[in-house]
Symmetry: C2
Subunit: 371 residues, 2 copies
């Protein structure tokens, strides 16, 4: 299907057996969805067209790749076929950088996006250290509307308390702007610099997105203002808050889709597991299975390993796995060692080590008066 | 010197001979300035303190790493010592991601930052293709206040006309908002998606930074607005322009410092040449040289190679090398093959190949009526 279920609705199906072996091998190193993605939410109006296409092409096996919405689509396609007497096996293949599918230890895609964020935060944090007298506060916006998994992963390159990120804010913890300002000021007093990572979807205690309010400028032709909408982003908003409330220099970073597409940051573990769940889906269909999503089950003891399992689509389609509270510290602004244990293997293990100079001072030899 | 000349002024000098060999080796894979950077512009008030420190530590060799401002500092330190009878050899070591130092083929730092942008643009462009029905326009903001070298480098992963980026805008070409809107609309009509890369420092024919005007909201406590200042960024501004003028979905990407710090995107060529210019600087001082900046001179024919040369600091300190007009196409919104010849070796050669599916359609077998 090209562009997922839209390919079925629009009669746009391709035969991957015509692709060269070299191309297919390269797919594992190519970002984005090679088959295209979609955001189409099925309606009953679509059902006739879908059944028509399944029959026209004699489709008997249906594998669908994605997150919660995709698993819902996959489940409903299975039900639709069944209710109409069309013998169809359906299987869901997990893939979401948000890592919020239930019943699986983690989701393919997450490990690589997490690796990008861990590298970007560590490396840019070093840049901020080097420029100690320049920018005081850097706010990096991470993807994640509902789940804070990626924001938490920004900590994975951190070795000491003073390294970036100093504060993280996730959607699971209600955001309080006054407390944020207080916490930023505290880190700044201590270190002279602050590196903050925020999820794009942080919200207040009432569930309102932070910085999401619509400004009424009364003049739609004026380009002199940016409305603080979600499209502008919460990091831009909070940067403004820091400047105004604390009088500090602040800048924001918004890598956005770069964080999930950057091929140089792929986690080897993630790539291997993405192939694994695909192969398992085909095996399950070949064995006559249906109505399941492939899962990743972590080896309970010893060094990291995963094997494939399954979960009924009906269960996974209506569930969401948010960041576990036990993975965040008491304040909710940092992670626990348990999160490192969980996430570090997924990004491919500890990041490559970097230098940190001892900084032994030179002793003055002889001080003379300037003539 | 820790934090450059501020280390001299603040008596903060370290002895690198105490660092372990392993740490020093890791430096070549560690982002940011391990010795710290500064933005201190020398004044005559500093001179006494500098001479005092040079004498106190019996400093006879002075190597200074950086861009135009740093070369100016280095040159002035040399003049200061000479005018005061202190025998001091000075040498400048080029390093700027902006690539705007004159008299050198290119600058260490540029190749790696350019590689990040080439990868980020290609890979995120693939993501945009995959989501064809989602976001219409993506605007990526690249570093570069005066020079468009990095923005031009965003094209280096592009193999066909339809791949990202579709339009680039650099500071060297006066920016016209109406023309920008027209060009974006044109690409959108043709492809249904537009990927734009803009330098942070683009400006209009009068030299005013685009989106740089200060908005007067009359209420400094209101967080409902973002002033379109340079700290918010030109990409946020142009995203707003696209939405309002064309009614298209648009989003902006602002990797900012990630683009120069991301250790996963280091160009092998760049790393080697950064080591080369440092070693050459030491050799020059050991041979009694002074008042020079080390340069990179490209082997004129055959496969890519560089050797070190020198240029008088006095010449380089007051010059700036902007993006050559011959590297941009007639419209100024894309690059020429000559730019690829210049820049591709610097990012380490062609990017790793990726898959692009042939997309051969499945033929329908038998179309039946839906019961």
């Amino acid at each position: 299907m090209v562009h997922g279920i839209e390919g079925v609705l629009g009669d746009n199906l391709i035969d991957l057996s015509y692709e060269s072996a070299a191309q297919l091998e390269r797919l594992s190193r190519t970002p984005a969805a090679a088959l295209g993605s979609c955001r189409h939410k099925l309606t009953e109006d679509d059902y006739g067209r879908i059944l028509d296409t399944l029959r026209a092409y004699n489709v008997r096996h249906f594998a669908y790749i994605g997150g919660n919405d995709s698993m819902d689509t996959c489940h409903r396609i299975g039900q639709l076929a069944s209710a109409n007497g069309w013998a169809l096996q359906v299987v869901g293949v997990p893939k979401t950088i948000d890592n919020d599918l239930a019943f699986t230890d983690h989701c393919p895609g997450f490990g690589s996006a997490a690796r990008f964020l861990a590298l970007a935060t560590r490396d840019t944090g070093r840049d901020l250290e080097a420029m100690a007298t320049f920018d005081d506060v850097t706010i990096l916006e991470a993807m994640g509307r509902n789940a804070g998994w990626l924001t938490a992963a920004s900590t994975l390159g951190k070795e000491t308390e003073d390294e970036a990120p100093h504060l993280v804010y996730v959607p699971e913890i209600p955001f309080d702007t006054a407390r944020f300002v207080h916490e930023v000021a505290g880190v700044h007093r201590r270190l002279g610099r602050v590196f903050v990572v925020v999820s794009e979807g942080i919200r207040d205690a009432e569930g309102m997105f932070i910085g999401g309010q619509q400004a009424d400028t009364g003049d739609s032709d004026t380009f002199g203002h940016v409305v603080h909408s979600l499209t502008t982003g919460v990091a831009a908003y909070l940067t403004d808050v820091v400047r105004k409330e604390l009088g500090l220099q602040a800048r924001f970073l918004r890598p956005g889709l770069i964080g999930r597409a950057m091929s140089a940051c792929v986690s080897k573990t993630d790539r291997e597991e993405a192939l694994l769940v695909g192969k398992e889906a085909v095996s399950l269909l070949a064995a006559g299975g249906t109505g399941q999503m492939i899962t990743l089950e972590r080896t309970p003891t010893g060094s990291y390993g995963c094997q494939a399992g399954t979960v009924p689509l009906v269960d996974v389609a209506n569930a969401e796995k948010l960041l576990l509270r036990e993975y965040l510290n008491t304040a909710g602004t940092g992670v626990t060692p348990a999160f490192f244990d969980y996430a570090l293997p997924l990004i491919g293990g500890a990041l490559p080590p970097q230098a940190r100079l001892e900084g032994r001072r030179v002793a003055a030899i002889a001080r003379q008066d300037v003539p």
